[in-house]
């Protein structure tokens, strides 16, 4: 069997499994699966920047949270239809990215990390401080899910809604990373100066990647606002950004399937560990340390190593 055919069969199997999930899972687990899909999308959006362009952002929650707040503010404060709030949220996240990117892209490495971190904290401080608009740290409950002629309040219906959007976004992301644009991004990741010498406008490629990553994070953020029917400043906090980072690294940066698996695993572990002990944060910290020490290229990297070792025998 060729590897391409095997890949196709695997993809079909995963899609079939995802579609069949509501038939086998209880509502609670289905809700958890929905959350996994949302965070998988969030992690994939960050990987466009981290794994494909080589820019490690510690402020990706900004775009996730801006979109979530856009949904909440539009539906709760102005009474706009929740379905219309969705594209508005995506636009808000993309615009925030378009504004932040020129600031962040002036720096590389540690300074890039620090600037993205600081910019995200600016947004967080507005959400946290501006009580009259956002309720501060109490957050905004009562976000309604959109209604497209059928209700999404049912767990199964909402799961399919998220799955459809996730599938669409995943297809677009696969298209982006395999396009000439995506190849140029990988070239920039490996050597900025070489791509510059080849005549690529490196800054423009990085800018577009930054805005795209923000937009996809925004889609995830808007979905999460619907999922929880609530938004709070923690959506924008550095912890959220750092969780996205570990999801990407745990799965394997530079692939799309890796971050999705990493996100699903972290979401599952958070639920599982929290049901047994109050020390999820400790476990999460240990995961950070262990992944950095023993799986710097993520689970995908471990798998590749394992296969190479086996074929070498």
């Amino acid at each position: 069997m060729t590897s391409r055919l095997r890949l196709l069969i695997a993809a079909v199997a995963v899609v079939a499994l995802l579609i069949a999930l509501p038939a086998v899972l209880r509502p609670y687990s289905l809700g958890l699966s929905t959350k996994m899909l949302i965070f998988a999308l969030f992690a994939m959006s960050l990987d466009l920047l981290l794994g494909y362009t080589g820019l490690a952002s510690l402020g990706h929650a900004a775009y996730f949270g801006v979109a979530a707040y856009t949904v909440a503010l539009l539906t709760l404060r102005t009474g706009v239809n929740s379905g219309i709030a969705f594209p508005a949220a995506l636009a808000a996240a993309a615009v925030t990215g378009a504004l932040f990117a020129p600031l962040a892209l002036r720096a590389r490495g540690s300074y890039f990390l620090m600037i993205t971190f600081a910019l995200a904290q600016v947004v967080w401080s507005v959400a946290f401080g501006w009580r009259s608009l956002t309720n501060g740290d109490d957050g905004m409950p009562g976000v309604v899910r959109p209604n497209f002629g059928f209700s999404l309040n049912n767990t199964t219906a909402f799961y399919y809604f998220v799955l459809a959007i996730f599938g669409l976004c995943a297809l677009v992301l696969v298209g982006i990373v395999n396009s000439p644009f995506g190849r140029a991004l990988r070239g920039i990741r490996d050597s900025e100066s070489r791509m510059q010498a080849l005549g690529y406008d490196v800054w423009r490629y990085q800018y577009v990647a930054f805005v795209l990553a923000a937009a996809f994070a925004g889609i995830a953020g808007a979905l999460y606002a619907y999922y929880n029917r609530f938004v709070g400043p923690e959506y924008l906090y550095v912890v959220q950004s750092a969780e996205a980072l570990i999801m990407v690294i745990l799965g394997g940066a530079g692939t799309l399937i890796g971050p999705a698996i990493g996100a699903a695993l972290i979401v599952f572990l958070e639920d599982f560990v929290s049901s047994m002990t109050a020390h999820w944060v400790l476990v999460l910290g240990v995961i950070y340390v262990l992944v950095t020490l023993f799986a710097p290229h993520g689970l995908i990297g471990l798998l590749v190593d394992f296969r190479q070792r086996r074929s070498a025998k």
């Binding site: 510690l58 300074y111 620090m114 904290q121 507005v126 009580r131 944060v281 995961i287 950095t292």
Partner: protein, 283 residues
């Protein structure tokens, strides 16, 4: 007179920020590590001081215990973990973030979730008259300590042999190593010293600002703002940034309570636009 009080408060707070930011900045300057555990060093150092104070009643012992314990923890983290990832910023970020979580959870288990305060030592419990108001001596003591540490660090960097080695390491670690300077030891010492300074800030802050879960993140963020404004790797930058943030934060809290943090972040964003490496930072 109110504005004088605000400025004094701002300077006192700025001095605490300087203790934090100078360590963060020294560590970055020498080994290019962005230490996200810095806020935890502050918080856990403060908690250790609190416990020692409760048992012994001695503020000096509390200071010593907090600083030494955290300096040792810092040395261990540098030796056994960060060292493996020299100049790799992503693994360093993940590691230091991991330790931030680990310390946050452990200190919540040990010291609980309620905000806790330390009583200031008796000699500093009085106030001095200041026009119609009176001003707590302890805050003046904070300003004095901050200035003393700033002076001490400057003297150490410019006038001592170890300081010269440090500057050589900051300029070019490889060449410094080739010249026979024990850069490996220098890394551990500087990381431990930076951690100790953060702990010193934690114990000193405990009588004024309470210690609570989340203070690690809050102080880390403010220290970041300070080094972004002042520039990483520069003592002068850390001092200028800390005073600026301390004063702006105090006025912001007094006059725009809803946007208290925002008043600090706006100048920071502005400085990022004109000088991405901060006022005194090097490229």
């Amino acid at each position: 007179m109110t504005w004088l009080i605000h400025i004094l408060n701002g300077v006192a707070f700025g001095m605490l920020l300087f203790l934090l930011a100078s360590g963060l900045s020294l560590i970055y300057g020498l080994m290019k590590i962005l230490n996200l555990t810095h806020g935890s060093f502050y918080l856990v150092g403060g908690y250790i001081g609190l416990t020692v104070m409760q048992f012994t009643g001695s503020f000096v012992l509390a200071l010593l215990a907090g600083v030494i314990a955290i300096a040792l923890v810092g040395a261990a983290i540098e030796r056994f973990f960060l060292r493996r990832f020299h100049l790799e910023e992503l693994p360093q970020t993940l590691l230091t973030f991991g330790f931030l979580f680990i310390f946050a959870d452990l200190s919540l288990s040990i010291w609980g979730g309620d905000p806790q305060m330390l009583n200031e030592p008796e000699i500093f419990q009085s106030s001095v008259p200041l026009g119609y108001y009176s001003y707590p001596v302890y805050r003046l003591f904070l300003i004095a300590v901050g200035l003393a540490v700033a002076g001490g660090l400057w003297w150490f960097q410019e006038r001592t042999r170890l300081g010269t080695m440090l500057r050589a390491g900051v300029d070019d670690a490889e060449i410094a190593r080739a010249l026979g300077i024990n850069v490996s030891l220098l890394f551990t010492v500087v990381f431990a010293a930076g951690a100790g300074l953060a702990a010193l800030a934690g114990v000193l802050a405990a009588p004024v600002l309470s210690l609570y879960p989340g203070a690690d993140f809050d102080t880390l963020i403010l220290a970041f703002v300070v080094v972004i404004i002042g520039g990483l790797g520069s003592l002068r930058g850390a001092l200028a940034g800390a005073l600026f943030v301390g004063i702006v934060d105090d006025f912001g809290k007094a006059f725009f309570p809803e946007f208290a943090l925002f008043t600090v972040f706006v100048p920071m964003a502005f400085i990022l636009v004109i000088r991405p490496t901060g006022l005194f930072g090097r490229r």
